[in-house]
C-alpha cells in the first residue's frame, strides 16, 4: 500500500481545548511497522487512513482529523491500555460489558460510575449507547459486528475502525498507539512512547538474537480433538523467534491459528524443551485433568510449562490479552527471561509464569 506521508502536520486550531497539547509544525515519523493505517494530508487537512478496516475489506476508511472527541466509546479491552498510556482515560465513557476489563484504572472508573456498561448482555446495546451521547466510537469489526456498527454510523456517531488485530508483527500492533494519538491529538506523545517501546524491543531482540542455543518451543492446548496453536507467521510465533527460541511450527506460513490433530502435535512436540501458552489451563494438575496425555511431553515432565496467567483481572480476564498487545517490549522480556534467564538476571516477568 502506498503510504503518503507528508512531513508537516497542520494544527487544526479551531477546536483546541485547554488540555490539548500544542502540536508544533514539525516533521512526523512515518508509520514504521504497522501495515494497517497511515496518515495523509491535503492542503490544510490531515487524515487518518485505515487501510483495511475489517478483514478483507476492499475500501479503506479515511478520517479527517479535526476536533478531539471527548466522549469516546471503545469496544475492545486491548484499546484501553492505549488510553492509559496517553493519559486519556477520562475520554472513555462507555464500554460493552465491563466485566471483561482487567485494567485497575478503568475498573476504578467503572465503579465510580464514570464508565457506562453498554452491553451487560454481551453485545452492544444501542439504546444505552445513544443514551450516553458519545462523539466517537472506536470499534473493531472481525466480521460479525458490522451490522451494529453501521447502525451506530446511521445514528450520526462517527465510528473509527481499528483493525490492529490484523497486524502480524508485535511492533506493528503496538504502533497503533499512533492511531489513538491522532484521534486524541496526542501524536507527539504517542510517537515518543512508541519509539521508546520499539527501541527497547529491538534492543532485546538483538540481545536474544545473539544467543547460539535456541530452545525448542511448543504452544497451545487441545480442544475436543483439535490442538490449536499459533501459525508460523502469527504474532506469538514472531515473539518466540525474537526471544531466541525455535518454535517448532516456524516453517509454517499461516498468520492465524493451526488446527492440528493431537498425534501430529505429539510427534513433533513431545521433545520440545518449552511449552509456552496453555490457554485457560493454569496448573499442571488442571492440564493432566483435562487430558492425561499431556504428561507424556518432555516439557511437562521437566516442569517447563509457562502460561500468560501471571496477571489476571478481578473478573477473571487475562491481562495479557488486554495490555500485552500494547507492550511488546514487556512480552518479549518475559519470553527472554523464560528461555534465556541469564540474559535478564534482574528482570521480573509481568505476564508469563511457570505453572506448577
Amino acid at each position: 500500500m502506498n503510504r503518503l506521508i507528508f512531513g508537516i502536520i497542520i494544527l487544526i486550531g479551531a477546536c483546541s481545548g485547554p488540555q490539548r497539547e500544542k502540536s508544533t509544525v514539525s516533521t512526523i515519523e512515518e508509520v514504521q511497522y504497522a501495515k494497517g493505517f497511515h496518515f495523509e494530508s491535503e492542503g490544510d487537512q490531515r487524515y487518518l487512513v485505515v487501510d483495511e478496516p475489517w478483514p478483507k475489506a476492499t475500501k479503506s476508511k479515511k478520517y479527517l482529523l479535526n476536533g478531539v472527541p471527548k466522549r469516546i466509546v471503545c469496544t475492545s479491552t486491548s484499546h484501553l491500555p492505549f488510553f492509559e498510556m496517553l493519559d486519556a482515560e477520562e475520554s472513555v465513557i462507555g464500554f460493552p460489558n465491563l466485566n471483561y476489563i482487567s485494567s485497575a484504572v478503568f475498573i476504578e472508573r467503572a465503579n465510580a460510575g464514570l464508565l457506562t456498561d453498554l452491553g451487560p448482555d454481551g453485545s452492544m446495546n444501542m439504546e444505552l449507547l445513544l443514551g450516553i451521547n458519545p462523539d466517537a466510537v472506536v470499534a473493531f469489526d472481525m466480521g460479525g459486528e458490522s451490522k451494529t456498527l453501521a447502525k451506530i454510523e446511521e445514528a450520526g456517531i462517527p465510528v473509527y475502525y481499528n483493525s490492529d488485530f490484523l497486524e502480524q508483527s508485535p511492533l506493528g500492533r503496538a504502533e497503533w498507539i499512533k492511531f489513538f494519538g491522532a484521534l486524541l491529538n496526542k501524536e507527539k506523545k504517542a510517537d515518543s512512547i512508541f519509539s521508546e517501546i520499539a527501541k527497547e524491543y529491538n534492543r532485546l531482540k538483538e540481545l536474544a538474537g545473539a544467543v547460539k542455543n535456541k530452545p525448542t518451543i511448543l504452544s497451545g492446548v487441545v480442544y475436543g480433538d483439535t490442538w490449536f496453536l499459533p501459525g508460523g507467521n502469527n504474532w506469538a510465533a514472531t515473539f518466540f523467534k525474537n526471544a531466541g527460541g525455535a518454535y517448532l511450527w516456524d516453517a509454517d506460513t499461516t498468520s492465524g491459528w493451526l488446527e492440528l490433530s493431537f498425534e501430529a502435535v505429539y510427534e513433533k512436540g513431545n521433545d520440545a524443551e518449552f511449552w509456552i501458552g496453555t490457554s485457560t489451563l493454569n496448573t499442571m494438575v488442571e492440564m493432566e485433568g483435562q487430558d492425561e496425555r499431556y504428561a507424556t511431553f518432555r516439557a511437562f515432565k521437566n516442569g517447563e510449562v509457562y502460561n500468560y496467567n501471571k496477571k489476571i483481572g478481578p473478573n477473571g480476564g487475562y491481562d495479557f490479552f488486554e495490555s500485552g498487545y500494547s507492550r511488546p517490549d514487556l512480552v518479549l522480556s518475559d519470553l527472554i527471561k523464560t528461555l534465556h534467564p541469564e540474559l535478564l538476571p534482574e528482570y521480573e516477568t509481568v505476564y508469563f509464569q511457570n505453572i506448577k
Partner: protein, 351 residues
C-alpha cells in the same frame, strides 16, 4: 421344506455376520494404521508383537489410536442401537437417540460448566476433579434429568406420539436455556462449547474408556434382551399388549436403555450426529429385515464400522489437520443413505 428354508436362511445370516465382523476387523486395523502421523505398517505389527524401537510412535498407537478406535466402536454401536430402539418404540422413521432431549440435557450440563466455569473455578480445583470428568459428569447429569422427566411423563401418558412430542418440547426448551447462557458468555467459552458440540472421539483417555466401556457393554447386552419386546411393538401398541407385553414396563425399559447408551456416549464424546438416525435405516435397507433379533447385532456392527470409517475420513490421513467428526458423519453419510433409498426406489419397511 420349511426346515430347509430355515437352514438356508441361517447359512445366509452366518455369512452376513462373518463378513461384517471381517469388515469391522479390517476397519479397526486401518484406523490404527492411518492418521496424521505416518507410521509404517511393519512398525504397527512390531508394536503388537512387543518389539518397538520408536517410543513416540508406540505412544501414538497405544494412547491415541487404540483408545480412539475403541471409542468409535462403542459410540457407533451405542448410538445406532439407541436410534433403532427409538424408531421402533415410536414407530417413527425420523426418531433417533436424541429425540427425547438427551443431547439437549447433556448440552445444558456442559454449557453450565463451561460458561459458569470461572465462578466455579475455585470449587473445581478444591475437589481435585479433572476438567474432563467434570464435563462428563455434567453431561451425564443433564441427560439423566431430562430422562427422568420423560420417564415420569411416560407413566402418565399412554400414547407414544404424545411422549415423543413431550420429549421434543423438553429438548427445545433446554436448548433455549443453552442459547441464553451462550448469549451472556465470553467468546472463548462460546468457542469451547461449540467445539464440544462438534463431537470428539479422540479425546478419551484410557481412564475414561474404562468407565465408558462397561456401561455401554452392559446396555448393549441388555438390548439383545429387549429384542422380543421390540418385535412385538412393531405390530402396534394394542397388538403388542394383546400378545401379553406389559407396554408401560417395556417402554420404560427401552427408554432407560437407550438413554443410558446415548447419554453415556454424549457425555464422553459430545453429541455425535447422524449415526443413530441413519444406521438403523441402512441396516433395514441392506438386509431386508425388521426382526430385532437380527437387527440388533447388525446395527451394532454397522454402527461401529461406519463410525470408524468416518473417523478415518475425519483424520484426513497424511495431513496434520483434522475435521470435526460431526461434520464428516453427516457429509459422507447423507449421500450414502440417499443413494440407498434411490436404489431401492422406496422404503419397503413400515412401522
Amino acid at each position: 421344506m420349511i426346515e430347509s428354508q430355515l437352514d438356508e436362511s441361517k447359512k445366509k445370516w452366518k455369512k452376513v455376520f462373518l463378513l461384517l465382523i471381517l469388515v469391522l476387523l479390517t476397519s479397526f486395523i486401518l484406523s490404527i494404521s492411518l492418521g496424521s502421523v505416518q507410521i509404517p505398517f511393519s512398525f504397527i505389527v512390531n508394536h503388537f508383537i512387543g518389539s518397538s524401537d520408536n517410543e513416540v510412535w508406540s505412544n501414538i498407537i497405544q494412547n491415541f489410536r487404540i483408545p480412539k478406535t475403541l471409542t468409535s466402536i462403542l459410540a457407533g454401536s451405542a448410538l445406532a442401537i439407541s436410534g433403532l430402539q427409538m424408531q421402533t418404540l415410536f414407530r417413527n422413521p425420523l426418531a433417533g437417540p436424541f429425540i427425547l432431549g438427551i443431547s439437549s440435557g447433556a448440552g445444558l450440563g456442559v454449557a453450565l460448566v463451561i460458561f459458569l466455569g470461572f465462578w466455579l473455578g475455585g470449587f473445581i480445583e478444591m475437589t481435585g476433579i479433572g476438567r474432563n470428568w467434570l464435563l462428563v459428569g455434567a453431561a451425564g447429569l443433564g441427560s439423566f434429568i431430562v430422562l427422568s422427566v420423560v420417564l415420569i411423563a411416560s407413566f402418565r401418558i399412554r400414547s407414544g406420539v404424545s411422549l415423543l412430542i413431550i420429549g421434543l418440547m423438553f429438548g427445545s426448551a433446554v436448548s433455549a436455556l443453552v442459547s441464553i447462557l451462550q448469549y451472556f458468555s465470553q467468546a472463548e467459552n462460546i468457542q469451547a462449547y461449540v467445539i464440544w458440540t462438534f463431537g470428539s472421539l479422540g479425546s478419551l483417555s484410557w481412564g475414561e474408556l474404562n468407565v465408558m466401556m462397561p456401561v455401554i457393554m452392559v446396555s448393549l447386552i441388555f438390548s439383545f434382551l429387549l429384542s422380543k419386546s421390540l418385535n412385538a411393538l412393531l405390530l402396534g401398541e394394542n397388538y403388542a399388549e394383546s400378545l401379553g407385553l406389559n407396554l408401560k414396563r417395556a417402554r420404560m425399559l427401552i427408554i432407560i436403555n437407550t438413554s443410558l447408551l446415548a447419554g453415556t456416549v454424549t457425555a464422553f464424546c459430545g453429541p455425535i450426529a447422524f449415526i443413530g438416525l441413519a444406521v438403523p435405516h441402512i441396516a433395514r435397507m441392506l438386509f431386508n429385515t425388521g426382526n430385532h433379533l437380527l437387527l440388533t447385532p447388525l446395527v451394532i456392527l454397522l454402527g461401529s464400522i461406519l463410525l470408524i470409517v468416518f473417523d478415518i475420513f475425519a483424520q484426513l490421513p497424511g495431513m496434520q489437520e483434522t475435521l470435526p467428526i460431526n461434520a464428516v458423519t453427516s457429509l459422507f453419510g447423507a449421500p450414502f443413505v440417499i443413494w440407498l433409498i434411490l436404489r431401492k426406489s422406496n422404503l419397503n419397511y413400515s412401522f
